[in-house]
């Protein structure tokens, strides 16, 4: 039997402890740390879960590496509270020394963490929130988004209504800034008559009063923007009131996050998006197939754009050969967007918002009984958001 003296053990431990900082320093140099901001608590947590699952699937497809660097993801749950988001993001920047901040479902969270992140010369990649504030005069050299500018999506629906030849449209949105933006975006391309605009409180439960108004107005179509639970209630009650023969044009109301609850009630309802799960390209087929196998639910745009976010980072880090210190080169590499998106084509405009195609989508039931949005036709091609011209970035 072999015995090891106490001294020997101690010595070994001491050597190990002494060696550790060196190992850690090397690991830090070789790896890349990502702060992943996704809401995980509260009623909107399902969206944050989609985002996180999408990004992590991207990392998994890249064998746990981005541009050849081992990835370490620091989860940041913003709790949909701006002050919490700022505190946690600051901690990730200062304590964990993250190299990129990625994610963010909601615009108000993005607005809160914008300065804390970009002021430390760290790149912030939003995979969902795309407010107008940072698209125009407020555009930022350290900010990119892989989603869209919100106004674009609403305007796609306006264009679609125009193309369909609808003359009289009824508009219903929640009474807050994003709701008013939706109306503005829709009207920017719809030139027909708006029969009525109805603004409902954000905590509205029952739409019976509004549905009766819609029935009385007999419009050619309804345009609405009712995110989350609002949309679940509206869609089901709209169907129950027998109004489904009036086309239901919506933005952020019927998507893969709400469809499990809306199900048959949403069949045939329209939405607008730059991506849908049925898009026929190799990258997307692989993404959707593996996502569903891993998580057992249909991915939505929250997941798809986060997946693209991982691919974007991979391409940029590869291009600078893992040298994250040269911010200028890294920016140029991000701008190049040299990756294959699940949407097919992908490129950035001068303001770091995507220039992309937008589709009219429709809710369909798949043979396996699950629901998803499917592309109907391309409405806008290579669309640049309306604020890009105001951006001074070159």
């Amino acid at each position: 039997m072999m015995t090891i003296g106490r001294r020997g053990v101690l010595g070994g431990v001491a050597a190990g402890v002494l060696a550790m900082p060196a190992i850690r320093a090397r690991a830090q140099q070789q790896g890349v740390k990502i702060g992943l901001v996704a809401v995980q608590t509260g009623p909107q947590a399902a969206l944050g879960t989609q985002l996180r699952d999408g990004f992590l699937l991207g990392v998994k497809h890249l064998d746990g590496k981005l541009g050849g660097l081992a990835v370490q993801v620091v989860d940041i749950d913003d709790e949909l509270r701006p002050e919490v988001a700022v505190t946690k993001t600051r901690a990730a920047l200062e304590r964990d020394k993250v190299d990129f901040v990625v994610g963010v479902v909601f615009s108000n969270i993005l607005q809160a963490i914008m300065r804390p992140v970009t002021e430390t010369n760290t790149f912030l990649i939003s995979t969902n929130a795309g407010p107008s504030t940072f698209a125009g005069r407020g555009c930022n050299p350290f900010f990119f988004t892989t989603s869209y500018n919100n106004d674009q999506v609403h305007s796609v629906m306006g264009q679609a209504a125009q193309d369909e030849g609808y003359k009289r449209v009824f508009i219903m949105v929640p009474n807050y800034q994003a709701g008013r933006d939706a109306v503005h975006g829709f009207k920017s391309r719809f030139k027909g008559e708006v029969v009525d605009e109805v603004y409902v409180p954000l905590n509205q439960l029952d739409f019976s009063a509004e549905l009766a108004r819609i029935a009385a107005a007999k419009p050619d179509a309804l345009f609405t923007f009712m995110p989350g639970g609002l949309g679940v209630n509206l869609v089901r009650q709209y169907r129950q009131a027998g109004l489904a023969n009036i086309p239901f044009l919506s933005t952020f109301t019927v998507d893969e996050a709400t469809l499990p609850a809306q199900q048959d009630a949403a069949l045939g309802f329209f939405s607008a998006a730059p991506w849908a799960p049925n898009m026929d390209n190799e990258q997307n087929r692989r993404f959707v197939r593996d996502f569903e196998a891993a998580h057992n639910y249909v991915p939505g745009s929250y997941a798809a754009q986060a997946y693209d976010g991982a691919m974007l980072l991979d391409s940029a880090i590869r291009r600078v050969k893992g040298n994250l210190a040269d911010k200028q080169a890294l920016r140029a590499a991000l701008e190049a967007a040299d990756f294959r998106s699940v949407r097919g084509n992908f490129k950035f405009g001068t303001n770091h918002y995507p220039v992309q195609d937008f589709w009219l989508c429709k809710v369909a039931k798949r043979p396996d009984g699950k629901f998803q949005t499917e592309t109907v036709r391309k409405v806008l091609e290579n669309n640049v958001d309306p604020f890009a011209a105001e951006c001074r970035l070159r």
Partner: protein, 307 residues
């Protein structure tokens, strides 16, 4: 606006009011009889909806879901009573508010952990699908009429129970002077427990009934809870009759306000600001009404007679 539309809106208001009554009835009994502020009442409504959704998915039918959800909602109410609320009856209102608020946070998170955050859906019972055409282009879902009917029936049953039975007499007596009832040899604790469990079951019933038309999601009880408090304050705390009438009143104000206010504002303002101002005022209307009623009748419309 046509008379027809107005009638449909009134019906909508009544239906919403009846749903509110189902939640408020339990709340007013608990508040009135036990002088106990139960903020967690909304969570019990939510729990009912979740139980109904799960049991309906499990058994494949709404009715079985409803039948199974009710006793479980009752049991959950009783468990909460024994574990938490029982220890709070003798404490002041602040402790009750704090503790029951804690229950809200706990149960909201627990439901999230069990069922996830995505909204659930409950199929509408086969028997009650479809609609009746009340005005051209608008079908009034039979299910909403069923809610109206169920609410009215529950109101009738409650009235019988409270006004015409021995237990009801004890409940009323307890609302007026609990120590005296206890002194007369009634086990007031058990009475409280009974009332509490019954209130929880009513809230659960409301939750199950609402589930096919509203989305079942975490936090769904919070909005209803606020309106339910408005209802019991307007109606007079502890009064089932008051809660019934106040619930219908609140339902009507809420619904008619929402549909009439924007048109009303258009008489004074340009269309665009009128719509937004109208919507804003409509959402305040219920609270303005409550303030006005309390200014005239601080005890509410139908206070429980005391002394």
């Amino acid at each position: 606006m046509s008379t027809q539309l107005l009638l449909v809106q009134a019906l909508n208001g009544l239906q919403f009011g009846v749903l509110l009554f189902l939640v408020a009835a339990g709340l007013t009994l608990v508040f009135g009889v036990m002088d106990f502020i139960n903020l967690a009442h909304g969570v019990q409504y939510m729990l009912g909806a979740y139980l109904g959704a799960s049991f309906a998915a499990w058994t494949g039918g709404f009715w079985a879901g409803l039948v199974l959800a009710l006793p479980v909602a009752l049991a959950c109410g009783l468990v909460l009573e024994v574990l938490v609320f029982r220890h709070l009856y003798d404490r002041d209102h602040l402790s009750q508010v704090l503790a029951t608020f804690g229950v809200i946070l706990f149960l909201n998170q627990a439901l999230r952990a069990i069922w996830g955050t995505a909204p659930l859906q409950v199929p509408m019972p086969e028997l009650l699908t479809g609609g009746i055409t009340l005005m051209p282009g608008l079908q009034y879902p039979v299910y909403r009429l069923a809610i109206l009917g169920a609410g009215l029936a529950t109101a009738g049953l409650l009235w019988l129970l409270v006004e015409r039975t021995r237990v009801g007499a004890l409940v009323r007596a307890g609302a007026t002077n609990a120590p005296m009832v206890a002194a007369l040899g009634v086990d007031i604790r058990r009475l409280f427990m009974l009332v509490f469990g019954f209130g929880a079951m009513l809230a659960g019933f409301a939750g199950v009934m609402a589930a096919p038309i509203l989305s079942v999601e975490p936090g769904m009880g919070d909005t209803v809870l606020i309106l339910a408090f408005v209802v019991i304050v307007i109606g007079g705390i502890g009064s089932v009759r008051g809660a019934f009438l106040a619930a219908l009143l609140v339902g009507l104000i809420e619904t008619l306000g929402r549909s009439l206010m924007p048109d009303l504002m258009r008489l004074f303002l340009a269309p665009s600001p009128a719509r937004q101002a109208g919507a804003a005022i409509a959402s305040m209307l219920v609270y303005i009404a409550m303030a006005a009623i309390l200014a005239v009748r601080p005890q509410g419309l139908f206070p429980v007679r005391t002394g």
